[in-house]
């Protein structure tokens, strides 16, 4: 019998709730539903501290995805649907499949809110890949290929993302994925049924249920050693982007049908816990019960055990709850117009049961009741109060900064694995399918899309989460992730409107690792509250540690969504002309803790202070310059410091055929304190409070830094090459 992850006290609680010992199917159901993965039992009480309300919030955390108001077009209000998922553990074991199924899952999370899926982002953290034939390199390549294979095939552009290569991820990579959707706010489809849904049909749609992914939810809640033992037990799921492509298009047709008939329905992705988890939540959260016949489920193999059908995590499946009168048309769309049974073996839409008013969750198999439990017990919010050690950052060393020889150091910074061009990687992603891309991967700090056909509305998306900071101070790193993601969105001319996060941490049952998680939540909550930005969705991934029990660097990864009333206001790539001023807007503290420079020099140093009031002021200055049309180019100052931001503005100018460089004079231009580097026309009348003029643009492709001269084309060579061997 397959191992279950339930603890002794949890088993007792189940027996008490049922008044008897659970049946085998019930045992597996509770194992999945009460796993960390499904129940957020160690994180929920802390996640409550994240701000999630605001004037623009259409739907906060709690359903498959959150929704934030984008803008109005032709009298209709449009919302951006956003979901953030991790597929870290599967990606470490089978990177191609693990990463691909991560994309598929997050896309369905957005789809099932009634949205059209319009964009993807992929924050990635891999181990050191110095040996391009080694295992870390294999993981780094295969995960990227998996993301590309899935996103490219379903036709959703990948417009944002980042990647870090760090020793701390050698045994446990991170594959996070974010999906964006667009929906009219009065056409949102909810993830649970209304109270009056008694008698509605439950319609399972998609791939035939197979034994793949059986035990997936508890798999994610195990540490690496235990996962190895599960490997031969098919806990890893198998991706079929071809089927998902067709499912998405068929589902868009069903949305149109429901809109036309003005019929309410509920719709949900099958994730952790499979048919059982999804049907329990879609009915239970609406205060209803369910009565499901597992014999009605389209299966891939004969004689599958009921618990495998019930909780297996076969991919590419969704569940509708609909009034029975529309089921025939729904089945016709999926099975006949979009021919699901011909797309994949025994794929289809099929009625598997109905919603009841009984508040019991019932599964039948071969004429027997194999599960009959109170819905509320199954979907109960488990809350584990765990001990933790408070994490305190001790401030780093205060050594005086050594004199930096820009001439020899800057090329090393540009070629550093955290700074060099990501193009060899993201070139494998389709960034322009759908024809709505305004800024594709690599052309700015954020990707920008025009998601509403015929409208000038734009949406920007960027991610952040620097593991060099995470290693030093989880709370600081989390705050910084909020700031950096927001800055990136601001740098392309958008107004930040919402956040989503994935908290990737170690084992919550180890007090110091749980303490790091709690500190990170503190950091996210503080920064988001100060900047008045809501978290509308999010995800937690625990048990990210190597076989030696060492956790990964604290990794609170944040994505920020920005709005543009008119995409014409987007700040386009690259320096625009000679004779403009270069301004550094925002904090400029001259310390190097956590920077690429510190890594190159092999020193520690102090973390730069974060000032939320200075941040708000800097954002206001950039917005003002955008609104008045005087911001010619802009980059957020991040990895590699202000000089790297400047170099990238010069590279983009060169690639666009403009022969422009810059001359700057600034003490240590490789510090990473933050803020924005802006090119503005000289008569821009910028409010200079909090702004430093660091230099000006010149009409030759050179960067002259404190008197040292660099050729832009030569720097571009250095910057663009390093990842080409890993991603040929």
């Amino acid at each position: 019998m397959k191992q279950v992850g339930l603890r002794e006290d949890e088993l007792e609680r189940i027996a008490e709730g049922l008044g008897r010992r659970p049946s085998p199917v019930e045992l597996y159901a509770f194992d999945a539903q009460w796993s960390e993965h499904c129940s957020y039992k160690s994180s929920r009480r802390h996640l409550r501290r994240l701000p999630s309300a605001g004037a623009r919030v259409v739907l906060g955390p709690g359903e498959d995805a959150g929704i934030v108001h984008l803008g109005t077009h032709a009298g209709e209000r449009y919302g951006i649907v956003v979901a953030h998922e991790s597929h870290n553990h599967p990606s470490q074991v089978v990177p191609f499949e693990g990463a691909a199924t991560g994309v598929g899952g997050v896309v369905r999370d957005v789809l099932c809110m009634g949205a059209e899926v319009v964009g993807l982002a992929d924050p990635l953290r891999f181990g050191l890949t110095d040996d391009v034939r080694g295992h870390q390199a294999y993981v780094a390549r295969s995960a990227v290929d998996g993301i590309g294979a899935y996103g490219n095939a379903i036709g959703v552009p990948n417009v944002a993302g980042d990647v870090y290569f760090e020793r701390g991820f050698n045994d446990n990579c991170l594959v996070n994925v974010i999906a964006l959707g667009i929906v009219k706010e009065d056409e949102v489809v909810r993830s649970y049924v209304p109270k009056e849904a008694d008698g509605w049909d439950l319609v399972l749609v998609g791939k035939a249920t197979d034994p793949s992914g059986f035990g997936g939810a508890s798999f994610s809640s195990l540490t690496l050693d235990a996962r190895d033992a599960q490997l031969n037990k098919s806990a890893v799921q198998v991706p079929d982007p071809f089927l998902e492509n067709v499912l998405m298009r068929a589902t868009y047709r069903v949305f149109a049908l429901l809109r036309g008939l003005k019929i309410a329905a509920a719709f949900k992705d099958l994730g952790a816990g499979g048919i059982m988890g999804c049907s329990a939540e879609i009915t239970g959260q609406g205060g209803c019960g369910a009565d499901i016949d597992l014999d009605c489920v389209n299966v891939a193999l004969p004689a599958m055990a009921p618990e495998v059908i019930a909780v297996g995590e076969t991919q590419e499946r969704l569940l509708w709850a609909v009034p029975p009168e529309i089921s025939p048309e729904l089945l016709r769309i999926y099975n006949e117009v979009f021919t699901l049974p011909e797309i994949a073996c025994n794929a289809r839409a099929t009625v598997i049961g109905r919603v009841t008013s009984s508040e019991r969750y019932i599964l039948r198999h071969r004429g027997e009741v194999v599960m009959d439990v109170p819905s509320l017990l199954l979907t109960a919010h488990i809350d584990d109060e765990l001990p933790y050690t408070e994490v305190i950052y001790h401030g780093g060393t205060t050594d005086e900064l050594p004199a930096v020889d820009v001439e020899s150091i800057f090329p090393k910074v540009l070629a550093h694995r955290d700074v060099c061009s990501r193009e060899p990687l993201y070139r494998r992603y389709d960034s322009v399918v759908r024809g709505s891309t305004v800024l594709p991967r690599g052309s700015g700090d954020a990707g920008v899309l025009a998601p509403v056909t015929g409208s000038r509305l734009g949406v920007a998306l960027a991610v952040a989460g620097n593991p060099r900071y995470g290693r030093l101070d989880p709370k600081y790193a989390a705050q910084h992730a909020v700031l950096e993601a927001m800055r990136r969105v601001v740098a392309v001319g958008a107004v930040p409107i919402g956040l989503t996060d994935c908290l990737n941490f170690g084992n919550p049952r180890k007090p110091e690792q749980y303490g790091a998680f709690i500190a990170a939540v503190d950091g996210l909550a503080h920064a988001a509250t100060e900047l008045d930005l809501p978290f509308v969705s999010g995800n937690v991934s625990f048990y990210n540690e190597g076989p030696d029990g060492a956790p990964i660097p604290a990794s609170a990864i944040v994505a920020c969504v920005g709005a543009l009333d008119d995409v014409a206001a987007v700040v386009t790539p690259g320096l625009k002309g000679a004779g403009s001023s270069l301004l550094w807007v925002g904090s400029r503290e001259l310390v190097v803790g956590g920077s690429v420079l510190a890594d190159v020099l092999g020193i520690e140093g102090q973390l730069p202070a974060l000032s939320m009031s200075a941040e708000r002021a800097a954002v206001a200055i950039v917005h003002d310059a955008v609104t008045r049309g005087v911001l010619r180019a802009c980059r957020a100052v991040a990895d590699g410091g202000m000089l790297t931001a400047l170099a990238r503005l010069a590279f983009d100018a060169m690639l666009a055929g403009r022969s422009i460089g810059a001359e700057i004079d600034f003490g240590n231009p490789l510090c990473e304190a933050g803020g924005f580097l802006c090119e503005v026309s000289d008569d821009s009348e910028i409010d200079v409070t909090g702004v430093l003029r660091v230099g000006q643009t010149i009409d030759e492709p050179q960067l002259i830094v404190n008197g040292v001269r660099f050729d832009v084309a030569r720097l571009y060579e250095i910057w663009s090459r390093p990842l080409a061997e890993l991603y040929p």
Partner: protein, 255 residues
């Protein structure tokens, strides 16, 4: 006179919406036709095969789709002189169906768009397609200037033209290379080719000039908002750039 254009969606197609949109924005009467409605295709006056991974690109990109019943109508139409445009996966399907370059029999391909070189990976890269034939050689390009440069995105794993030597010679001799990859200034060299394509080929036309197969996607760089840095005019929603080719196609359809 406005004639009807069918945009075909095979299982796995992924660029159908933007293709319909740009055709309409260029004045075309375009509609999407799903694979389960193949019997409707005969009534349309022109066909556009859009991008994606039809039938999962099993065997070879386009190989299975070329056998799809939808292609019966396209092959009949092409032979009867209807205009057919294939983009990316659509181009691969036209080659597998033997319609382009059309130097062999139907469904007996003489050339293929196959695995990129030097690295056999998906590549997403902005390119320019330069018209390499007399515009009038192909009805679809008749509205373009000689040597026209069309901005587009290469986004494919199998985009390299490959054929046995004798077929390549025939392709050159018959003037089938309609487009070659070029730099933004119009220069043509290996550096402009994203996939190692033979002859630097980005697009092929059939003998009669009514069927055109192009690998890059002009419909993804077809409105001002797709290329703000080189917008034409103030309206970010106006078609421009890659729209040139669709305007020429629609004008040819509507003659």
């Amino acid at each position: 006179m406005s004639r009807r254009i069918a945009v075909l969606a095979f299982p796995g197609t992924n660029s159908e919406d933007e293709t319909v949109r740009i055709l309409r924005d260029c004045g075309g009467d375009a509609e999407l036709v799903w694979w389960s409605q193949a019997e409707q295709l005969a009534q349309y006056d022109a066909y556009v095969l859009s991008g994606g991974f039809a039938h999962e690109d099993r065997v070879r990109a386009g190989a299975i789709a070329a056998l799809d019943p939808m292609m019966d109508a396209v092959i009949d139409g092409a032979c009867a002189g209807k205009l057919v445009l294939g983009i990316c996966n659509g181009a691969q399907i036209l080659l597998e169906a033997g319609l382009v370059p059309g130097t062999g029999a139907v469904r007996q391909p003489t050339a293929a768009f196959t695995k990129n070189l030097p690295a056999p990976h998906f590549v997403c890269r902005h390119v320019r397609m330069r018209l390499a034939i007399d515009p009038a050689r192909c009805v679809i390009t008749a509205g373009l200037e000689p040597g026209a440069l069309i901005p587009a995105w290469a986004a494919h794993t199998e985009g390299r033209l490959a054929a046995p030597r004798e077929h390549l010679d025939e392709i050159v001799a018959g003037g089938h290379v309609a487009f070659v990859y070029a730099h933004p200034d119009g220069r043509v060299d290996d550096g402009a080719v994203p996939n190692g394509s033979a002859l630097g080929c980005a697009g092929l036309v059939n003998r009669a000039g009514n069927v055109l197969a192009i690998m890059p996607h002009p419909e993804r760089d077809a409105w001002n908002f797709n290329h703000l840095a080189r917008s034409e005019g103030d309206d970010v929603l106006a078609p421009s750039g890659g729209a040139l080719l669709f305007r020429s196609f629609v004008d040819a359809v509507n003659v």
